[in-house]
Amino acid sequence: MTSTEYAVEARGLVKVFGQNRAVDGVDLTVKAGTVYGVLGPNGAGKTTTISMLATLLRPDGGEGRIFGHDVVREAQIVRQLIGVTGQYASVDEKLSANENLYIFGRLLGLSSKQAKAKGAELLEAFGLTDAATRPLAKFSGGMRRRLDLAASLIAQPPLIFLDEPTTGLDPRTRGQMWDTIRQLVATGSTVLLTTQYLDEADQLADRIAVIDAGKVVAEGTGDELKASIGTSSLILRLADTNETGEALRLIEQVFGVQGTPSPEAARITVPMSDADRVTDLLLAFRSAGIRLAELSVQKPTLDEVFLTITGHGVTEAEETTEEVLA
């Protein structure tokens, strides 16, 4: 019965709220020691899925196993194997960081001394030592998120659920959270995270499940997923719009595809299948005397992923990632 090869095995999980099938037959298989990303827009059923796997909600159908233990029948064992960092901070607002970690440590069976030491160790690890005794009301969003994650790590659980760990964080704090997640995996933990950002799932996760309206609509590695979605686009803005025609001709020559000029011809969008060809294009522009005002690469957005996979776009939570090169 007990397996340690798979951290999570979910088969046909269902949760119904009234008429709303919030989770509608979700299958997930997460290999131990990996990062698994559940990608989906607001309301897709990510939090509900995690809640069932973390024993917080009872499934209305299907079954979930954590390291081989059933989430309903062996809930108390499952709780010994998981750490949960919810979408909204699950720490006590009225207490200090120290007090929060101490109480969670005591609840987890640490002695008073061990609980204090563990709390101090985690606060140090998450750069919160200076704020240890301050009331949480004075904490920034990022600090709260860090404390929340620290609280999930007290028992050093082999499986950690992170529900939208970086939503609402500034880019620097987001980068730090990514580093932390990588370190968690290095310690031997398995991480199941949810996100609304394709980029984030791509950066962190070994495998990704895309969910929409309670169903898994695509599953695979980041590369597999992207290959099914399409490619990044190269966006060019010319210094002189009179040269648009010549530029389009060169683009077709180098990339073998049509560029699309924007209505006022200020921007040209080119599907970029091979990033290496960009060098050739730039050289061709240089020798033709075409000058660029701006050059950027746009990755496929979650919106485009959804459009491609489900045939309908994302209504909320759009994300455009633009990496400006010049």
């Binding site: 194997l81 699950s90 720490v91 607002e93 609840l107 750069g127 082999p158």
Partner: protein, 277 residues
């Protein structure tokens, strides 16, 4: 700023080397409940303003009602004290037990409750912890009311033993009654509705009693109500204990009533709570 989590995270123990069990022992249940009670006390220290109902209010009510009614009802402040002190005490402490339900509801709505539910702890611990911590609130309210009385010149015949016994009765009865509000707290939709419903029940019960006035002056129907009101029995029992009078029947009825409340509401509360926890 420090790098997040540095390299200081330690390797975890593999799943195969962990000792896992699917039940919670009684010893663990007690330990978890005490930790939850400790959490309640830390909150007490952090937010003293939330505890004014057991600190300032007893002082305010004792002083206010004594000076307001003392002359009119008993002829003098000093003569009124043996009547009013147990009255205000029972009213204050029983009113304080409403907070058990309100805070439980608030707690269950907070994110931290989700964390408790995801931990391998006794399911009942947040509830039992809250009930344990609240006995301390009742003890504080009791001590403060008695002290205020003594400062104002109250000299109970029953001495230290009588006063301590009287105080104990109040704390025990309030604890039993707090199960009613804990139940409301578990089933209600919002904390404010718990507060609203509870006070609607408690105001008539505590004021329409023998807490402030001798019931002999009241019109027939009201006298009947105050005489059967269980709060009146508790107050009489506490008065008699403090005054070195036999408290037999009233004490018996009070404790019996309290036990019945627990017998009815504890199972209801625990069932409703476990369904949500």
């Amino acid at each position: 700023m420090t790098t997040l989590a540095g390299n200081s995270l330690k390797p975890i123990t593999p799943v195969s080397e962990r000792r896992l069990k699917n039940h919670t022992s009684f010893a663990q249940t007690v330990a978890n409940s005490l930790t939850m009670a400790y959490r309640g006390l830390v909150k007490f220290r952090r937010t003293p303003e939330q505890f004014m109902d057991v600190t300032l209010q007893p002082i305010l009510f004792t002083v206010m009602f004594t000076y307001l009614f003392g002359g009119a009802i008993s002829g003098s402040i000093a003569h009124y004290l043996p009547t009013i002190i147990p009255g205000v005490l029972v009213q204050t402490v029983i009113t304080a037990s409403v907070v058990t339900g309100v805070q439980l509801r608030e707690d269950m709505d907070k994110g931290v409750f989700d964390r408790f539910r995801s931990l391998p702890i006794a399911r009942i611990a947040p509830l039992s912890g809250a009930l344990i911590a609240d006995t301390l609130r009742y003890a504080i309210a009791t001590a403060i009311t008695f002290l205020t009385g003594i400062v104002m010149g109250w000299r109970p015949e029953g001495g230290v033993a009588g006063v301590v016994l009287g105080g104990l009765v109040v704390v025990v009865v309030a604890w039993c009654i707090s199960w009613i509000f804990a139940f409301l707290g578990v089933i209600a939709r919002t904390a404010s509705s718990v507060q609203g419903i509870s006070f609607m029940v408690l105001f008539p019960l505590t004021f329409l009693s023998n807490a402030f006035v001798p019931t002999s002056t009241l019109p027939g129907w009201l006298k009947w109500f105050t005489d059967v009101n269980p709060i009146s029995h508790v107050i009489t029992a506490v008065r008699n204990l403090c005054d070195a009078q036999p408290a037999g029947a009233d004490l018996g009825w009070s404790l019996l009533g309290a036990v019945v409340v627990v017998a009815v509401f504890a199972p209801l509360t625990v069932r409703a709570y476990m369904r949500k926890a």
